[in-house]
Amino acid sequence: MRPAIHIVSAAFALAMLALTPPATAAEKIDPVADAKAFQKFFTDKFPKLKPEDFVTGPYSMNEDLHRQWVEKEQFPPYEFSLEMGKEMFSTPFKNGKSYADCFPNKGIGIRQNYPYFDDKEGKVITLELALNRCRETNGEPPLSYVKDEMAALTAYMAYTSRGKPFDIKIPNDPRALEAYQQGKEYFYTRRGQFNFSCATCHVQSPGERIRAEVLAPGLGILNAMPIYRSEWSGMGTTSRRFTTCNSQIRGVPLNPQDDEYRNLEYYLSYVSNGLPISGPGARP
């Protein structure tokens, strides 16, 4: 009797397994397909633009704005920050070492490879995070992630990478894929009392206005970081961009460089792979 019960139970279990629907394509983490679809969405939506045009953000959205950008680039407002960053970068720490000692190729022309997934730590490492870690390793206090000195350093590093295409790698490591997926989820998740996601503005409404601002497309949005924003009357980093976006929709921002923001940067940078670094940038 007992073996018969076992056979029936096993048959039942197998039947249940057969009935369970397989994981759908949507649930599979496929960064390559995501990036292709993401870029196609924007190039279809704005057929007059070449992919590299998107890195000028709102200035790519119409001809008037584009003319403003051309004029702005003649005397760019980020220039003072760029000079400050160059000086900071070349000034040795108290122990005699410098930022160049912490990075591949002495930190020159490497912006397009950040953020990357660190397999030892199992987490995403952004350029801002790497810069502060470099400081702390060399006995210097960390900088604020949101402005001034951090923006100056990243401005200089971005400048040395201008024109190089974003080349973010996602290794075949389930933790890297999970970090990418978490970043994607964050991008599309509505939050704050206004019930906005990043995508509400930067996928559904690029080129539209929110009050006086023209919204930037999500494609290429990080290629120009850090940026001088007229609204801020100063420079801001990627961290500043993420935290202010959250507070603008009445959400309490997370701490700069929390895992969520690092993963978001990983996702957003990856889907802009192939588009040139244009930072530092200027925005209205």
Partner: protein
């Protein structure tokens, strides 16, 4: 005897108003604690709203000024905001996919 009645009435009035005052403060404390607990829950979900924090602060300010009616009202509003943020975080675990570019 004629003096006793007004005295007794005054005593009862004072005692009554003191009781109402105490109950109002206790109600405020309970309402504030409920709002704070809901906001902590939203924090665990990494989805607090700035308006919840400012409404909680307004409740505290009103209570400090002794206006417990206003403080209770603000606490209840803060609790409703916090619960809405929890609902948002929970429902978005699936709903975010509707916005995804595929």
């Amino acid at each position: 005897m004629s003096l006793l009645k007004p005295l007794l009435a005054s005593f009862l009035l004072i005692a009554g108003s003191a009781c109402a005052f105490a109950a109002s403060e206790a109600d405020y404390k309970a309402a504030y604690a409920a709002a704070e607990a809901a906001n902590k829950e939203a924090g665990k979900l990494r989805n607090q709203w700035t308006t919840t924090a400012s409404t909680l602060a307004a409740a505290k300010k009103a209570a400090d000024a002794g206006d417990f009616d206003k403080a209770i009202e603000a606490s209840k509003e803060a609790e409703a905001l916090a619960k809405a943020s929890i609902y948002q975080a929970t429902s978005e675990k699936q709903l975010w996919k509707d916005l995804e570019i595929r």
